[in-house]
Symmetry: C2
Subunit: 329 residues, 2 copies
């Protein structure tokens, strides 16, 4: 905590200029301004944060983001990257049917990184957390060759959490939120372009359907996952965890006009962005047949007994040959 | 969770050979074997872990470790580095007077890393957690140029947590646990030696006084911190957070024989290892005068009103000119 930092470091200051404790002072101030969090008895600055919890379930999830692998500084600015890092983790709590409450952030970066970049990142991160009522309660900073961000999110579940393993043959498969937009934006950026702007923006700052998880849990969802690896890859995670077959009906998937345009320009089938894309943090869930789907949820397929090859995913009744998502090694 | 992995990957398998989901399968199995954790309703493998909490305080802390900065693969084996990574975080909960219960681990590494190294790391990590009854409940794996480990620990406090900010003039300053041993071991390794073995081992696998934090809290400690930056640097954190002056009496500090030997061999004052070293995860606390110190705690100084320059730390009544700890940028 210590002394009160100046309003902002000099425009050309680096992390080395700011120093570890200067950086922590600035981060602590930004976080307290933007998203202090509820039920936080002790925030950043001690050996640990202290949170007041009600008796019940706490959900916890951790993600890593590495520069060059999960983001590029030339493809989005620091504020957007901060939003995206938070969204990725808030979405994991959403996918359990929980409410995100508290986050910690580990931030490793080169000493030469402009301090403004780091503080803009923190501001974007805290703003995204504040949008769902969550607060940043702790973290760590250190030096590394490439920017590496480690986020842990804690949330509360008022109902039983919705796992990946509860899908039953006969259930319907449903999706909520944009799907494939961010993958289209990423494809555009990878080719050196900046438009369609709506897709690039979707990649830079995803808009996860943060209310959809609790609505689905309340409506009786049997399994749920947030689409982070890719629609088919994540559907496969549900299929394997539940021991079922999942079939996606491609005609039910919304392919927005900008994705059609990217398909025409690149020669790619725009459906591949929808089936293989993962950065929108849409939610995928299964519901008992006959469930009135909550607002925003669209039926996109069905759950059946596993096929002769065991649990897995098909598209329109057949194995899918295109890319289904990404792998980390 | 998917298929059951083989007992062990081939001796020469890399992370790339194992693949993301193969690695996760192995890690999940090791963690479940070694330290499943109590009150874990859903462990690794879903979007988030689910924990059953009692109404009360939850403490949470995050740390990053970067290869080359916080550890070197040629200075310790993977099991020891795993133990050390866990110890560093368990110690933060200890310093609040809490009981560590659950941890998440983010693990980023080059695809060429031997899979055995990663799994040995996880085993050492889980073993250290199990030693205090804590379990690994989640994590993330991804690729990066250098091994980077992000740990978040959650714990419970049965009494009010002991902060850094509660020290009062008139309190006594006390220390529990080895102090300076790991710094001595690090100095030896940095010069290319492997002895005194007891110091090298202290660096490789610290032995934090895990019971001391709760004992101190129960005894009425007014402030507490774990020594991770250095004894004087961390005493200064307490002094600034509490707005007090802290004086360390050097004659009360135990300088073990192996540190004297390292001092003789290197020409360094062995006291510098004790005053500036940080990797033992000893605990530093303040208690009201007259408190019967709990077992293992030794009085090493006193708390007073801040001096004319404001809150800070002195040694034997004078400013200290030597190294007081390390900085991260």
């Amino acid at each position: 905590m210590g002394s009160v930092p100046d309003a902002l470091p000099a425009p050309d200051a680096t992390l080395a200029d700011l120093g570890e404790f200067g950086l922590i002072d600035h981060v602590t101030r930004i976080v307290a301004e933007v998203a202090p969090g509820e039920e936080v008895l002790v925030g950043p600055g001690d050996d640990a944060a202290v949170l007041r919890v009600r008796r019940g379930h706490v959900v916890v999830s951790t993600d890593l983001m590495v520069e060059g692998r999960h983001f590029r500084k030339d493809w989005a600015d620091a504020i957007d990257i901060g939003h995206r890092a938070a969204a990725q983790n808030l979405s994991d709590v959403n996918a359990m049917g929980g409410r995100a409450a508290w986050l910690t952030v580990g931030f490793a970066a080169p000493p030469t990184l402009p301090a403004r970049w780091a503080l803009d990142f923190v501001r974007g991160f805290a703003e995204e957390c504040a949008s769902v009522g969550a607060g940043v309660v702790g973290g760590d900073v250190t030096s590394s060759d490439k920017i590496t961000v480690a986020v842990t999110v804690l949330g509360a579940c008022t109902v039983s959490p919705v796992l990946r393993s509860g899908a039953q043959p006969g259930d319907v498969l449903a999706l909520c939120g944009r799907q494939g937009w961010a993958a289209g934006g990423l494809a555009v950026l990878g080719r050196g372009f900046r438009s369609p702007r709506v897709l690039v923006d979707a990649y830079r700052r995803p808009q996860p359907p943060y209310d959809a998880g609790q609505l689905a849990a309340d409506a009786g969802a049997t399994a749920m996952i947030d689409v982070s690896d890719g629609l088919l890859a994540d559907a496969a995670h549900v299929a394997h965890a539940s021991g079922v077959g999942i079939d996606v009906t491609s005609a039910t998937l919304d392919i927005p006009e900008p994705l059609l345009a990217v398909g025409s320009a690149t020669g790619a089938d725009p459906l591949t962005f929808v089936l293989g894309g993962g950065d929108d943090h849409s939610l995928l869930a299964t519901f008992p047949a006959g469930t009135a789907l909550p607002e925003g949820w669209v039926r996109i397929g069905a759950v059946a007994d596993p096929g002769p090859d065991g649990p897995g995913v098909t598209v329109d009744g057949s194995p899918y040959e295109g890319p289904t998502g990404w792998t980390h090694f």
